[in-house]
Every structure is written in C-alpha cells, then in structure tokens.
C-alpha cells in the first residue's frame, strides 16, 4: 500500500480543455431538451385524458413561441443525438455477412432510413396523407 498516492487535481471545468471533451458535453447536454420533450408529452397525455376542452388548452400551450422554440430545439437535439448514436453502432456491434463485415455507412444509413420510416408511418397514422385530398 502506498503511503501517499498522487491524486491529480481535477477541476470541474475539465471538459472545457479539449475539443473532444466539449463535444462530449454538448452531446450529453442534449438531455435537457429531451427532458422538456418528455414533460410536454406527459402534459399532453394528461390533457388528452381530461377531455376535449383541456386538449384544446394543451394545443394553445403548444403554440406559444417559447414552447415551439424549446420543442424545435428538442427535435434538433434528438437528431444530433441520433447521429452520434447511429455512428457508434457499427463500431460497437459490427455485423458480419458470411466472411465480410457490413460497411459502416450501410449500417448508419439503414438506421436513418428507420427514422424516416417511423416519421412516415406516424404521419400516415395521424392522418397527414388524407389532409391533402
């Protein structure tokens, strides 16, 4: 057992010191708009259960500029988070087809195709397609 182990100082501002650390913190910061997004959905679930009047009230709340701005930020943050998440997948879990490894770009684009598919499916489910007929 060492008598006096050296403990390097670690200031709370460590993440400002390197571009890679700053990028990491930016990615981690996307959790804040995500929390607002979850809060908006919880409020929406409550309003939907309360009746039509409270649902209309909720729609008016959604239309306020600051709510629109924060939910727009949540959309951008979710796309940024998705991008970092999708790029990780082929590195963490490379898929093999026979003796060949699937190229990373293919796995990343397949995941983006999944996002697009979910958007289209939800748009269809919410009646977006019929709106133009």
């Amino acid at each position: 057992m060492s008598r006096k182990p050296y403990q390097p100082p670690m200031p709370a501002s460590w993440w400002l010191k390197h571009p890679a650390y700053r990028f990491y913190m930016l990615r981690e910061a996307t959790v804040l708009p995500l929390l607002f997004f979850i809060g908006s959905l919880l409020y929406g679930l409550y309003a939907l259960g309360q009746g039509e009047a409270s649902w209309l009230q909720y729609q008016a709340w959604l239309q306020q500029p600051w709510v629109l701005a924060l939910n727009g930020l949540a959309l951008l943050a979710s796309l940024f988070h998705a991008w970092t998440f999708f790029v990780l997948f082929p590195q963490v879990m490379p898929l093999r087809l026979g003796s060949r490894t699937l190229p990373a770009w293919l796995m990343v684009s397949a995941q983006w195709a999944g996002v697009l598919l979910v958007i289209l499916a939800l748009w269809w489910l919410l009646g977006g397609l019929d709106a133009h007929q």
């Binding site: 995500l34 949540a74 979910v118 919410l126 019929d130």
Partner: protein
C-alpha cells in the same frame, strides 16, 4: 509466522445494480434515437404548425389512438424508457460536472424516473 497469509474468507460480494440502470438507459437510447424525432416533428411541432391537419386529427381520433391497448407500448417507448435514459445521463452528467455524486443524487435521479413513469402509466390507465 506463515509467509503467505491466507486472505480472510470472502463474504458475498456486493452486487452492482448498474446493469439494471444501464439496460434501461440503453433501451431508452434506441427509442430516443428512433422515435423522438418523429414525435417531436409531427406531434409537438406538427400539431401547432399544421403539419398534420386538425380536421383529420380530431380529439376523438387521437384519444382512440393513444388509449388503444397498443398505446401502452407507445407510452413505454416514448415516455417511460426515455425517462430512464434521460435520468441515467443526468446522474452521470452531475458526476462529470462534479455537481453531485453519491447515494442522494442517484436516488433522486432514478427515483424521479420511477415516479414520473408511474405518473405516465397511471394517467394512461385511468383515462383509457
């Protein structure tokens, strides 16, 4: 005196609970990456900005969609799992920023995820 002292008999090692939180975080991460862009774009922005038409998306229709039995899966995928994902990241973020570490921060983070998830589930169950 014996040269090699035997280590004391080992008691059962304390199991880490991290796999539970990490699994929920990880499952939530998939949901966040795959589903949150669509919900944010089409519901939270799409309804107020008119990307989905208000006539098509009447209160009755949306109510029927959300409180359909399959809607429970949607609540799990877009509220409950993302909550555990987010609170796990906040727990570790507080540690990274040296704002809080230790038991209390952990209890507060995962406790609020559990509380808010129960709120979401009870809202869904009682309003259906």
């Amino acid at each position: 005196m014996r040269i090699n002292k035997q280590p004391p008999p080992q008691t059962t090692p304390r199991r880490s609970d991290e796999p539970i939180w990490w699994s929920l975080f990880s499952a939530g991460g998939v949901c966040v990456a795959m589903l949150v862009p669509a919900i944010a774009l089409l519901v939270l922005l799409g309804i107020p900005l008119g990307l989905v038409s208000a006539e098509q998306l009447s209160y009755q229709r949306l109510h029927a969609l959300v409180f359909h039995p399959l809607g429970l899966g949607v609540v799990l995928a877009v509220i409950v799992l993302p909550l555990f994902h987010a609170m796990h990241r906040i727990h570790h973020g507080l540690h990274d920023l040296q704002l809080a570490h230790g038991r209390l921060a952990k209890w507060l983070c995962y406790g609020s995820a559990v509380l808010l998830s129960s709120l979401a589930l009870s809202l869904w169950l009682t309003s259906g």
